[in-house]
Symmetry: C2
Subunit: 369 residues, 2 copies
């Protein structure tokens, strides 16, 4: 890989909560990258035990001139730790240092670290500023952008959280080189997602570049991250609190969340569950007469080429479809027990709608291994 | 007491988050009182084990025509339960019922119930609507109005929370008749507060009517609640998220929170700690040359007549002032370890400022029993 000096910027336009996403190489260690974030008070770097040895010191050095003191806390790694007890460790550290309202939290890690750090920032003293420094592809193209923060509850994923925007998102492409192949693939699920819901030209581009992306080609990653963030920025700018449009970003997630919850968080990576979930959602769209079989086949093939599962997990040997339905009724988009599915209403356009249980059952039976 | 048909209304003007406070007799049981709140979905009444037998069924009946189902949960009573484990019981009940984003939470109780219900509403699925039905004087004149929600952390009061506005606040004056005298006095602390910080004519009125208020005179209570809410509405409307002005509503609270935290939450009622805290803050204002001794004496006398303590608790036999200072440095208004005190800058006007440790120590030594 070559060093690149080009930095691109995507703006999330939300009035007084507007903030930039910076995308480029070598950003993390450069003190100049953090201009958009508040300075002066203390900083707390929240990371996990996997990422800490790789990048925490580098980030701490970059922040040293901007903050009075820079503290760190490394949480246990993994979706299974995304719950209250882990969140509370952040509060313990903040209060142990006497951190005040001027303290800035830095989320250094993947989606789990970002979700928990953002929610901690939303709640600590009723709100302190935070910055996202995502270290996984999935976090760079999706979870670090848009202000959704949350922890899981034993009865549902992301059930306890807040809409709370960061002051800055810093996508350093260099850090993706340290990602295991499985994590890179998981991130590609969220990249692929943007094609069917919003931009089939981007989908064409991903088809042509999926091998380069899996090989961690810097230029390919730069384009994938930038275009993904642009699409997400446009959707979030129109519907920050998911009262309508924003729900389309959850294409594949209704089925995917059922897989994650049904197997126990962490058994499959989030992106893996979304991969299989997108196939199921596409099959449902087809069953509803919204897309043809060729589209479903094309999407399924790309998900497979990205190294992702294309079949759902069996969650219950006796009544698998029933178990999926039970779990999906807890989805946050559900209303009055009616599941709201994100479907593809023709390639490049998504919609949210209900579907008959019998049809959903057929799709689940067909799509699970 | 006579039934009164007059209902007064105070508006909290916050753009799209604007909502009404209704003040009057017999409101709780009247289905017509709830027009400003969303209807249609499920409702969850969150209350405590003391209030539930008195009012929960009456509220449930009033809501029956507005919601598909009305659920209830009764939390343990008291500030010492205002923590994560109790909050999580609300989430358990919501998820156990499969409650969706259209679910409306009703906080039926005092400040603790209101703070926890509001915070639960702020976090559940990243935000569902809630309504305040305060059953204590303190909650009617202060905590239910303005959208501050929180739980306590072992290292500090209200450290984990959100600014999250209710859709409606319903102050039923009849319920105050069931309040123990000690709770009524605690509520008067927050009523008295509005005088020195904003309106000395109201202070004169309280001096003239404190006995009627303690005797639960309906007309006196109606005026006290309405004027308190008006002043609070004006302040909150100008500074929802406490970036400046709103901090004046915490007159007496910096010292008061130290008493509550130092003795363990629940030993003193919040209003009792605020009573003694106001005397200490007035003494500090005098020591800073901002008010004369006569004003301090007048405020102290009224606090005593309201049935409240006028001297702070001894938190540490060896270094009492040191312990107060240590606890106050954790106050949310503190910046960089510097405590920001709400002082009276002439009767009827408050300001927020720092003070020399030596001076604060003298005040604490003088004011504690």
């Amino acid at each position: 890989m070559q060093a690149s000096s080009s930095v691109s910027q995507v703006r999330i336009a939300l009035g007084e909560r507007t903030y930039p996403i910076l995308i480029g190489a070598g950003l993390l260690a450069d003190p100049g990258s953090y201009q958009a974030a508040p300075s002066g008070g203390d900083a707390l770097i929240v990371t996990n035990t996997t990422v800490a040895p790789l990048y925490a010191e580098r980030l701490a050095r970059a922040l040293a001139g901007r903050h009075r003191q820079v503290h760190q806390v490394a949480l246990p790694d993994g979706e299974q730790h995304k719950h209250w007890e882990t969140l509370n460790r952040i509060f313990d550290v903040l209060l142990g240092h006497g951190a005040d309202r001027k303290t800035v939290l830095y989320a250094l890690g993947g989606g789990v670290v970002g979700d928990m750090t953002g929610f901690a920032a939303a709640c600590y003293m009723r709100g302190v500023p935070f910055v996202q420094v995502p270290t996984t592809l999935l976090a760079q193209v999706d979870s670090s952008v848009g202000g959704k923060t949350a922890i899981n509850h034993p009865l549902g994923k992301n059930m306890i959280g807040a809409f709370y925007q960061p002051r800055l998102v810093l996508c350093d492409l260099d850090v993706l080189a340290s990602l295991p192949a499985r994590e890179l693939s998981a991130g590609l699920a969220e990249v692929i997602k943007y094609g069917p819901i919003a931009d089939m030209a981007f989908f064409d581009w991903i088809e042509a570049n999926v091998d380069a992306l899996r090989a961690c080609d810097r230029d390919a990653l730069a384009h994938a991250v930038e275009r993904s963030c642009q699409i997400k920025a446009e959707v979030v700018g129109q519907d920050e609190r998911e009262s309508g449009l924003r729900a389309i970003l959850n294409f594949g997630h209704t089925f995917g969340h059922a897989i994650e919850a049904g197997l126990g968080y962490g058994a499959w990576l989030h992106g893996e569950a979304v991969g299989a979930g997108m196939v199921m959602a596409a099959q449902l769209s087809h069953a509803l007469g919204l897309v043809d079989a060729a589209f479903v086949q094309r999407l399924t093939a790309l998900i497979a080429r990205a190294g992702l599962p294309t079949r759902g997990a069996v969650l219950d040997a006796h009544d698998n479809a029933g178990r999926y339905l039970q779990l999906m009724r807890l989805d946050k988009k559900a209303e009055g027990g009616e599941i709201r599915f994100v479907v593809i209403d023709g390639p490049g356009r998504a919609a949210v709608r209900a579907a008959p249980d019998a049809l959903v059952r057929q799709v689940i039976e067909r799509c699970c291994r």
